[in-house]
Subunit: 224 residues, 4 copies
């Protein structure tokens, strides 16, 4: 299993069956063996483009809620990686299918997409930096885990470009950096025994809810 820090490992364990329901979802398996219909993939990419817009907003919100310059710098760097790099895969792939960036931007957000992104943003507004990180983590790290697994298990090259993006060194480094950021942010606010803090179960709940909403995002992808 991928190692993105001790906090992530604990939150993932606390998410129970929701975690494999997300990372081994039928949509993901369809990327692995290439049987996912192209149309479903393109529909997903369009929604994921809109997702990245709001996910970038959530990381920008993290900059406003950081306590240290290091926290600010990593969050600011992540905004930049999302809005300029990760999103390029979506723009490039959709362009090849005849969709311009403005087509993407004007597409109608589906409810499952709205549910996840706005939940993350509200976690930040309602709580502190940790609440926001707990809601951001399932997406960042889940895609990292999926990328690594599919790179070694894939039986088709149909979605090799997508898999390579998340299995690649840049994205894996981001997962490690974010894992380190979370561990340090937890230590700074909850001390050496964070699971003993009354906030711990709330943070696990944030992570689990965000994971449930990721499952809904894949479901949406299959509904087309």
């Amino acid at each position: 299993m991928t190692d993105y820090g001790t906090t992530f490992a604990a939150w993932r364990a606390a998410a129970g069956d929701h975690w494999p329901a997300y990372t081994h979802h039928a949509f993901v398996e369809g990327l692995c063996d290439g049987i996912l219909p192209r149309k479903a993939f393109l529909d997903y990419l369009v929604q994921d483009y809109l997702f990245l817009i709001h996910f970038s907003r959530a990381w920008a919100l993290a900059v406003t809620k950081a306590d240290t310059v290091d926290e600010m710098r990593l969050a600011a760097g992540t905004v930049n990686a999302l809005i300029n790099d990760e999103i390029a895969l979506h723009i490039r792939t959709c362009a090849a299918a005849g969709l311009s960036e403005s087509d993407l931007f004007e597409a109608q957000e589906k409810p499952q997409n709205i549910a996840y992104t706005r939940y993350v943003l509200d976690a930040g507004h309602a709580g502190d930096f940790l609440d926001l990180l707990a809601a951001l983590a399932p997406c960042v790290m889940g895609y990292g885990e999926i990328g690594v697994r599919l790179a070694s298990q894939k039986t088709s090259d149909t979605y090799a470009d997508w898999i390579a993006t998340y299995a690649g060194a840049d994205y894996q480094q981001l997962c490690h950096d974010v894992g380190g950021l979370i561990d340090a942010a937890v230590a700074r606010r909850l001390g050496d025994a964070p699971a003993a803090s009354p906030r711990w179960s709330h943070l696990c709940h944030r992570f689990r809810t965000a994971t449930r909403l990721e499952v809904g995002f894949w479901d949406m992808g299959l509904e087309g």
Copy 2:
């Protein structure tokens, strides 16, 4: 048709078919003729309790984004009406069915519920007072319209208590007050010809998206 101000009427028209899809939804018709299963109604009430918590938060956010003391006072009064009055119907009805308020508070929010409430909150954080009002309006006024219609058309008293809450003088006054607040807020920020402002189509889009998410909320109610 109920008259809750000129802005509401214009936004409702701009929502097109989404508006009747919401206000004449099968769930609503089931309240009208009493055929909605009790279990579906109770499941809805539990979700609607959680909805009211976050809807109150959204009205409190409006207090922080108001430009005048009048705007602040009306928004603050609405928070109070929601969290102390409207919610009492839910607590009372659920208590009769054996559910305590802490059962309600601990219930798991469904994705359609998260989608709507967090969309409204984010509309406020992303934009200004008008963006927030445009996202709040479909719920406030839609329930007012439904209440008035069902009070005159109902063929069963099974859900008479629910209907009376929204058809009642207090709730109808709230709808008129909010309608007046919106008209004044629009005039203050967009002037005498608001539909000519570049922001108008964005506000219509906010209202329409929130209406779509209301349809999803009723769908959730039928799914049980």
Copy 3:
């Protein structure tokens, strides 16, 4: 000394000399013995009216950041008390001096006023419910302490109306309620030994900074 809960007592102690610099400021002593010039008092009331607007916004922000319905209700009730009750003293006193409420609303905010109110609001946006409460507390409780002391020590009735407002049962009840809210909110988030949490020193810092800014607010009052 007034007793508004154990957390308040600890934060007040941690504020050191800043606390008496605020609660025994020359402006306060001028209210006690009546030597404060009327003009300085009226200038202060005008700024304090604007202060209450933004302080109400900060309590409304607290509603959006609460974790329980009890926390929401108390914060919502405080918004209401501020915007409808406490502010009435200002409107009434200024009206007697020939200033309308719109004169008050249009007055120019002084930098010391901006510094305090916006610091409190940002404490809420940057952090969680506790960060916001730590920044709100010095104003609520400091005025409570000053009111009680001046009611027993005053040697002039010139400012008896102001003193009676803050020494009165309603305001003292608010201080006790807010003190209870803070104690419960701290227990819920930091557990039984909150001073052992890494967050404790940050919360003390929030309280102390807000207290420093209260001193600046009185300084502004004397500058006229």
Copy 4:
């Protein structure tokens, strides 16, 4: 006079005497002729380091409030320029004077500094993207104007490094980019005749208040 777009020119004109009070402040003239005491300059740099932290947070908030991907990218790029580039001048100059970055971070924020930064952040939370830009603009563009003027008028090289930072091509490009961002954002939201919008006077008021708070920031610098 520097040309950073038509909106900036209009807002600057509407700020009246506050604008030259800021851009020709005695502190600025002391940088120009080198008579500003070194200690005052270092004290200013320490406060300005803290200022840049919160100013970066405000630009990150702008990312969360943007309506288009272009707006997001420019705001995200500015966060990066501030937190990684402009701040480097402060760290380097202070390091030469024996102050580490953690000394800077731990320094006590002065009230005038708090007033300005938190006012900007609250402008964003209370209003929309334009409200935030109107509060951000005086700092960005004012320093650009000061840099250009001092580069051509300076009679001493004592503060040549500071002057070169703001007169330099990178910073001037930032001013032009932000000016273009503001013009486009105004056109997108207020149309072709923005000064006819009811919001115009409010935006001018935001800009003017932020300019007044810049004057206070220089005053603070002279007080040492």
